[in-house]
């Protein structure tokens, strides 16, 4: 069979190690393995569902540190996703360990982070202007949660009142400052074309 000589017209490759090329997959496998092992041991040994606490913690760590969406991997989206997952984790912890502290703690964490994210957004407004939807989703979530808690319990503790107030204030600020861009962003986000 005739062989051919290839004249190389591409730059030499930088070959990464196996570990670097597959870092994400390896971490994901490690996290999954840890989750499965904990679940299995918990099921076999019984007792309180501590494995759910471990799995929840792993999910928080994954979202906060390792998860990287391919599209719109912006700091605001990361902060919003981390906040949601931390709040859900705190609710999970409370539901397993009991004593209902989450109704007090979670709103504090929520509004504290919401203020931080809003401050970040306003500080880097020029660059982040088109990334306000994750923040708006959080604000709407804050308002809805406050409304639901009020509807269910018929009273609000002070963290919940602050959460609702901060969310409402930010919502009004958003509408006042960004009504036109907001309308355009909604058109883009909900286009079915």
């Amino acid at each position: 069979m005739p062989t051919f000589e290839v004249h190389v017209t591409y730059p030499p490759r930088t070959r990464h190690t196996f570990w670097r090329r597959n870092a994400r997959a390896l971490w994901r496998s490690l996290f999954l393995f840890a989750g499965y092992v904990c679940l299995l041991v918990n099921l076999l040994t019984g007792g309180i569902p501590w494995s759910l606490i471990v799995i929840g913690g792993l999910m928080v760590a994954w979202v906060a540190l390792l998860y990287r969406p391919q599209v719109e991997n912006t700091p605001i989206k990361k902060l919003c996703d981390t906040l949601i997952v931390v709040c859900l984790y705190l609710i999970l912890l409370d539901s397993i360990l009991g004593s209902s502290w989450s109704l007090f703690v979670v709103p504090i964490v929520f509004f504290g982070d919401l203020v931080f994210i809003s401050a970040y957004f306003l500080l880097f407004l020029k660059r982040q202007k088109r990334n306000f939807l994750p923040l708006l989703e959080l604000i709407v979530l804050g308002l809805l949660t406050t409304a639901c808690v009020w509807a269910y319990f018929r009273s609000l503790n002070w963290p919940m009142i602050v959460t609702g107030s901060v969310s409402l204030a930010l919502f009004i600020t958003m509408i006042a400052l960004f009504s036109k861009p907001l309308k355009l962003e909604f058109q883009k986000k909900f286009s079915r074309g």
């Binding site: 005739p2 490759r13 719109e72 883009k188």
Partner: protein, 497 residues
């Protein structure tokens, strides 16, 4: 009076130019700065680009005044000044690509031009800066909507970078204004790689020719306007980014993409993709002569060679699986479309390995199948199915569509084909450009399951048949080379190591 120029820019100007030239330079850079409304980092980079380009021109015989005139800030227009509010839904074909992509898998292709002299990076960068204003649709970034992805305009500096990665490698799209294409250079080659959501080969070629024309003009050559490239001072037209799928006729019958799994060639799939890129350089005249002598087109001739090579690279037991080759067809030959976006459909060529005997035996069947598959009616039926799919799925949220599409694409993906042959055809430039341009080539992105995909384009007497390999096993290309040489075509081989 406070100097509005960044310190880094001032230091660079002092380093590259004499003290006497500083006042003129300062005035020029302030003029440039007045046309920029970018982030601090991109503004500094743009100013540095201008300095580097001025330095290159002055080092190569031009006076500073002449260089500043050639790189006049008026050429920036207000493209980098005004915030653009345009956004573009993806076209029908492009909607699937972001659904099926991952950190290691993306539909990217490349078109390249080989010059007769090494590329001057500083001038290429300026050419890109000026060219972008004519292609606002490419100056975008992909975003997630609730139902579909879309393209949002991005006001930023677009960089021309030295080539360091494998061809058609995955692009990072996560940042606020990440572009969906890249311009890279290596020695005498300028390449533009596109994520397929932006454009198809036709659109990509128009961009490359416009970029090339601008580059050569900045290098001091007299290149006239010509039909297959845009005038960078012209006004972009909405037809250039229209989704022309709705233009097509709407037949009652549809047929689509689902098919039986095709035979896949031998060889393990490696981690690094593509594993290798090979260019078979032919004389276009020689290819044409052989095709005519056999009474077929060049596409049919190359399909014949591909089938022979696929058979040689086939596993020992293929069962009833056929060798199926995917053939993209440009719909612009049937409809009056001037869009840069995707406007092509696909047909398939199918033969059992046992039916692939000799080149002369299979060519009539190839011609028959290609004629039937590339007929307007058949392509309209596939297009109609594509439109229907988009219509049915438009109310399904992206969060539901994405993982399902990703899984389906992962399982089926290109499994219904053995390989692909994409023929971009003849690339034309005006005579004034010919003495600077050696050839063009066209590289498809690495496939998922297929072991090799092929593409072709020609420029005058240089036809480049490119094979992108996804396995270290060399059976396919060895067989191709053998069949070519046995039939009197001896290609000059180039590629990656």
């Amino acid at each position: 009076m406070r100097n509005p120029l960044p310190r880094s820019c001032q230091r660079e100007a002092e380093k590259l130019f004499s003290v006497e030239e500083q006042p003129k330079l300062r005035a020029y850079l302030i003029d440039v700065l007045a046309r920029l409304n970018l982030t601090t980092k991109h503004t500094e980079q743009m100013l540095s680009d201008h300095l580097q380009a001025l330095h290159y021109l002055t080092e190569h015989g031009l006076t500073l005044e002449a260089a500043m005139e050639r790189l006049s800030s008026a050429q920036l227009s207000d493209f980098y000044l005004k915030e653009r509010k345009e956004w573009y839904p993806l076209d029908h074909a492009a909607k699937i690509y972001p659904l099926s992509m991952s950190l290691k898998r993306m539909m990217v292709f490349r078109v390249s031009c080989y010059l007769k002299e090494p590329v001057v990076p500083a001038m290429l960068q300026m050419a890109l800066t000026y060219t972008m204003k004519r292609f606002p649709y490419f100056a975008t970034t992909i975003k997630c909507g609730f139902f579909w992805h879309y393209l949002d305009s991005a006001t930023r500096r677009f960089a021309a970078r030295p080539e360091t990665k494998l061809p058609c490698s995955v692009m990072k799209l996560g940042s606020v204004a990440s572009p969906s294409f890249r311009v890279i250079y290596y020695q005498n080659r300028i390449s533009v790689e596109f994520f397929h959501i932006l454009a198809d080969g036709t659109g990509a070629l128009i961009f490359l020719r416009t970029l090339l024309k601008t580059y050569l003009r900045l290098m001091g050559e007299e290149i006239p306007e010509f039909q297959d490239a845009f005038d960078i001072d012209g006004t972009p037209q909405p037809v250039e980014w229209s989704d022309d799928f709705p233009l097509c006729d709407k037949p009652n019958e549809v047929h689509g993409f689902a098919d039986k799994p095709a035979m896949q060639m031998r060889g393990m799939l490696p981690y690094e993709q593509p594993n290798r890129v090979l260019h078979f350089n032919f004389s276009t005249e020689a290819l044409l002569k052989q095709a005519r002598s056999k009474g077929v087109t060049i596409t049919a001739l190359l399909l014949g060679y591909m089938l022979l090579a696929c058979k040689d690279a086939a596993p020992s037991h293929t069962g009833k699986r056929k060798i199926q080759i995917q053939l993209p067809v440009n719909m612009r030959k049937f409809y009056p479309s001037t869009t840069l976006r995707n406007f092509s459909m696909y047909c398939g060529l199918r033969l059992l390995p046992s039916e692939v005997t000799t080149l002369d035996d299979i060519l009539p069947e190839i011609t028959r199948q290609v004629k039937a598959g590339t007929a307007k009616e058949a392509l309209d039926q596939t297009m109609q199915l594509s439109r229907k799919l988009v219509r049915y799925l438009r109310f399904v949220p992206l969060i539901v569509k994405r993982p399902i599409a990703y899984l389906i694409y992962g399982f089926l993906g290109d499994g219904v084909f053995t390989s692909t042959l994409s023929n971009l055809g003849e690339v034309k430039t005006p005579p004034e450009m010919e003495r600077y341009v050696d050839k063009f080539d066209f590289v498809l992105g690495p496939p998922i399951q297929n072991r090799a995909v092929c593409s072709l384009c020609s420029y005058h007497d240089k036809a480049v048949f490119t094979v992108v390999k996804n396995t270290t096993l060399t059976a396919f290309e060895d067989s191709l080379y053998r069949h070519f040489t046995e039939n009197g075509l001896t290609p000059y081989m180039e590629g990656s190591d």
